[in-house]
């Protein structure tokens, strides 16, 4: 243990003496702190804006005045997707996902108003965030710090000297790897302190949605990532004949793992599991695919349904005319139409989600080649900034839409009997259900990404094991 501590101490002294590393580390801390503070600030602003929008939207719905309930169902409600606090650390693909869903009669809408559509082009630009620095810059810093870990000793001829003094190569590798990881964790201390302070200072009015647990799991993911990268750096440094070779090999590794493979993975997943074209997607819904009756002419389907509902109601209530029914016929028919259309929406949206899930699984497989993919998937899932967060929200919003429309149709069916065009009093809207949304539990997120976690653990363990094996087999020439 004492030897390992000595190695770690010596590494720290060497790095401290290297002016370039001091600058790099300083720059990295500054960048991390800035993006952490700004990310938190903008996340809190988004959370506040959403709360205000929900309040105003509720007001708008309640203040419709006297109106036909079905017209109110067409006016509908907007459901606003929440932003979780960990999004400040990892904005994931939040900018490319709609922030709100319009809940209206007859139609399940896609989430709209993607922040990326607004303002300056995203193109291939990156969004600065803590997660981006940790996923891209920190591994590069590890490469720069560690490429000469063992290869440098070999170049200088000190490796043989150290071994001659009785130092085992395994101990040297372990010491170097630990030193690198420790240095990075020390760099992260101020950032973690700031995040904890910001979390503690978060206004109590804001629902944190297990932010503490989410951040803890995210930290575990990043810890495994950093340990894994440190292990790879030590392995390659041991295998290389010179520090120069080690550096080139590590730079190629970094570019491949962090930049190249994630893009290839996304692209190939999209090619293997293409999403339906918008025209096909909406056409399938229009045809009623997945519903009991499929027809190229939806108006005909609706007309047939209307006739059957009329016949059923007249028979059930034993009357001869629609006007004599003890319920508002239009409302009952509209509700049946909603129920008849629902399976078509479930079918089309289900297919869409299945394709996205297949893409995720396909991407995750590339995690075998790149831990960055596994980490990104885990990190954005925990931050609530991945497509699952949108899907989960969309499902909840759709469930609410159906309840809301059924309640409005119900009010018209009950109170509008025998009145033709029924205008409900202004206080009707207060009796309608409100949308309350709870994001998925952390356990659900973790279980969805179990494979990614396993891959990250393997990425952390295998390089360590490999380093140990390489160290055992390496013969040092005097």
């Amino acid at each position: 243990m004492g030897v390992i501590l000595t190695i770690i101490r010596r590494e720290f002294t060497d790095w401290w003496r290297d002016g370039r590393l001091r600058w790099l580390a300083g720059g990295c801390i500054l960048l991390l702190l800035s993006v952490a503070l700004l990310g938190w600030q903008s996340t809190i602003a988004v959370v506040d804006a959403r709360s205000a929008a929900i309040e105003q939207e509720t007001e708008n719905f309640l203040n419709q005045g006297a109106k036909n309930p079905h017209a109110a169902a067409h006016f509908g409600q907007y459901a606003f997707r929440p932003t979780l606090l960990p999004a400040a650390i990892d904005p994931g693909v939040d900018a490319w996902m709609g922030k709100m869903v319009w809940l209206e009669a007859h139609r399940r809408n896609l989430a709209e108003f993607r922040p990326a559509e607004d303002g300056a082009s995203h193109g291939q630009a990156v969004t600065l965030s803590v997660s981006w620095v940790l996923q891209y810059v920190v591994p590069l810093l590890l490469v720069i710090m560690g490429f000469a870990a063992v290869a440098g000793e070999r170049d200088r001829g000190t490796l043989a000297l150290l071994v001659a003094q009785g130092l085992r190569l395994q101990t040297l590798a372990l010491g170097k790897g630990l030193a690198m990881s420790a240095a990075i964790f020390m760099l992260l201390i101020p950032v973690v302190a700031v995040v904890i302070a910001l979390y503690a200072l978060t206004p109590t009015a804001i629902d944190t949605h297990d932010a503490g647990t989410r951040l803890a799991w995210m930290s575990l993911g990043y810890l495994l990532y950093i340990v894994g990268f440190s292990g790879v750096v030590v392995c390659i440094s041991m295998l290389s004949r010179s520090a120069r070779t080690a550096l080139f090999a590590l730079l190629i590794f970094w570019v491949s793992v962090v930049v190249l493979i994630p893009r290839l993975a996304t692209d190939s997943a999209a090619a293997r599991h293409p999403l339906p074209a918008a025209s096909d997607f909406w056409a399938a819904i229009k045809r009623g695919e997945g519903a009991d009756v499929v027809s190229e002419i939806p108006e005909e389907r609706a007309a047939r349904l209307r006739e059957s509902v009329a016949a059923e109601l007249l028979a059930r209530h034993g009357v001869g005319r629609i006007e004599d029914l003890p319920v508002n016929f239009t409302a009952v028919y509209l509700q049946r139409l909603e129920e008849a259309d629902a399976p078509a929406f479930d079918h089309a949206y289900g297919k869409l989600w299945a394709a996205q899930e297949n893409q995720r699984v396909s991407r995750s497989i590339f995690g075998v080649l790149s831990p960055t993919i596994s980490l990104r998937e885990i990190s954005m899932a925990l931050a609530g900034t991945d497509p699952f967060a949108l899907w989960h929200f969309g499902q909840a919003a759709e469930a609410h839409r159906r309840i809301l429309v059924a309640s409005l149709n119900g009010a018209q069916a009950r109170d509008g009997a025998g009145r033709g065009f029924y205008v409900a009093p202004a206080n009707t809207w207060q009796q309608m259900p409100r949308f309350v949304y709870e994001p998925p539990l952390v356990t659900a997120v973790i279980s969805r990404h179990a494979v990614d976690f396993i891959l990250l653990i393997l990425w952390a363990l295998i390089p360590m094991l490999a380093a140990w094996l390489i160290a055992r087999r390496t013969r040092i020439a005097a």
């Binding site: 929008a53 303002g119 630009a125 600065l128 120069r244």
Partner: protein
């Protein structure tokens, strides 16, 4: 005497070139790197052509659909007016709230080479009297957010991210490796300067890598069966940007060499410079643009729209009465072809748009301000300059998308004006009125502006290259192989 010296110089240069080419041929790592560039460019180009093929077919189908709908509607209206067709046989013909059109942004023949925001920005608009303003772009492609966020593996990605790494990576150690093995001392004992040797080696390596990329591009275009007849100038600019961007990275490699450090230090410098130029600076630019010119909240926009809709709905009946008071001429033309609900809906939407106009204008102003800031910042970022120009060449620039949105909104405004009186009077359009309706046709940006944009980017990239090379040459003059 002078001739003899010139001949000797030429012979020396030729000899040096031959020797360097032979060295390159035997550099296995470099050969692998060049093949890698070729394969990546081929894969990216072919993938891009596939993507573009799907887009092109969808667009062509849309154009045919619009043409067929216009033809059908015009024929029906003509037949109704001449008495050949009864209204009951074509119930929806000429109804001003039913007729509509589609407006789509045409993809260029090389749009798959740099996809950029093409999957994010609206490229399709549906226009009719009953389509609300915020609904006109709702039938967008349904893409996976991860694909949008992480980006596609297109040729622009290869050119912007990977080609610089290869050029600067192989270039920055062009002298140091010989320096470390003491071969450089022997080479420089010949009448050749370190500056000339370094420049030659960087140019040779860069040229081979660029050629490999272009070969990949050409093969990808051939395999993808691209029809380039209408986009030759676009492709020429695309290639020109690749060349000038590569020249810049060659200059960076030369600049790194000029410090005379070891291969490790050079490689480290190279990767840090690459990360700063390609990753960090553009991210900071985007961040600054957003901070300096922030966008108003979309939530605020939607809430204001809803408030206005509520208010207008409550006064819907009055809106219709007021409109008819302002337009007494419509009273005589009144018919019941359009339901009162549609008439009110139409006027309510018109009122909503009038009320939220200042908010929409504020959005547009903020968006323009942000884009202006970003455009200004790109002059300090070679990566942004090159990326922007590649997107311009392929017709996927932000400016073109914004132009499309503006033209779509203008078309919608013209359309609503054209059908307004018929909707409120509740009557069908005549065949003549139908033929006068605005037709969708995307007007491309003027060629002069296209040229100016590219020329300025190329000029600034060249300026960056000259500045960096100048400093590199200055340092290389003092380069010592000792």
């Amino acid at each position: 005497m002078v001739d003899r010296k010139t001949n000797k110089d030429r012979r020396l240069r030729t000899g040096l070139l031959k020797a360097e080419l032979a060295l390159l041929r035997h550099d296995r790592l470099f050969v692998i790197g060049s093949l890698f560039a070729l394969l990546l460019a081929l894969y990216a180009t072919f993938g891009g052509m596939q993507w573009q093929g799907v887009r092109g077919v969808a667009h062509a189908e849309g154009v045919m659909r619009v043409a067929a709908a216009i033809q059908r509607e015009a024929t029906q209206l003509g037949a109704i007016e001449s008495g050949e067709l009864a209204i009951s046989d074509a119930a929806a013909a000429g109804l001003p709230h039913v007729v509509g059109t589609e407006f789509a942004l045409p993809p260029t023949a090389i749009s798959g080479l740099a996809i950029g925001d093409a999957e994010l920005r609206p490229t399709y608009a549906s226009i009719s009297a009953t389509t609300r303003m915020h609904e006109m772009f709702r039938f967008q492609e349904v893409d996976n957010p991860v694909l949008l966020g992480w980006g596609r593996f297109d040729l622009a990605f290869v050119v912007i991210y990977l080609l610089p790494l290869l050029i600067a990576g192989f270039g920055c150690v062009a002298l140091s490796a010989d320096h470390e093995s003491r071969v450089l001392q022997i080479v420089l004992s010949q009448p050749v300067s370190a500056r000339r040797l370094a420049t030659l080696r960087v140019i040779l390596r860069g040229s081979v890598l660029v050629l490999a990329t272009l070969l990949g591009l050409a093969s990808g275009l051939l395999l993808g069966q691209a029809d380039l007849t209408a986009s030759v100038d676009h492709l020429a600019w695309f290639i020109a940007i690749i060349l000038f961007y590569s020249v810049f990275w060659g200059a960076v490699a030369l600049w790194i060499i000029s410090f005379g450090r070891s291969s490790e230090t050079n490689a480290l410098m190279m990767v840090i410079v690459w990360a700063v130029i390609v990753l960090i600076a553009p991210a900071i630019n985007t961040f600054i643009a957003r901070e300096i010119s922030p966008m108003p909240s979309r939530l605020e926009y939607i809430v204001a729209t809803r408030e206005a809709e509520n208010a207008a709905n409550r006064g819907g009946r009055e809106l219709l009465q007021n409109y008819l008071l302002d337009h007494p001429e419509l009273e005589a033309a009144r018919s019941d072809a359009v339901s009162p609900f549609i008439k009110t809906f139409f006027l309510v939407q018109r009122e909503v748009e009038r009320v939220i106009e200042p908010i929409v204008a504020r959005f547009a102003a903020a968006e323009n301000a942000q884009e202006r800031t970003r455009q200004a910042l790109r002059w300090v970022s070679p990566r942004d300059l090159a990326s922007e120009s590649l997107l311009w060449s392929t017709g996927n620039s932000v400016v073109r998308f914004a132009d499309f949105e503006r033209q779509a909104r203008d078309l919608r405004a013209d359309w609503l004006r054209a059908v307004e009186s018929a909707v409120v009077a509740g009557r069908r359009l005549t065949a003549d009125e139908f033929s006068q309706l605005p037709r969708p046709e995307f007007r491309e940006v003027a060629r002069a502006e296209f040229f100016q944009r590219h020329a300025s980017s190329v000029f600034v990239l060249l300026l960056f290259s000259i500045i960096v090379s100048f400093d590199a040459f200055r340092r290389l003059k003092k380069f010592s192989s000792a």
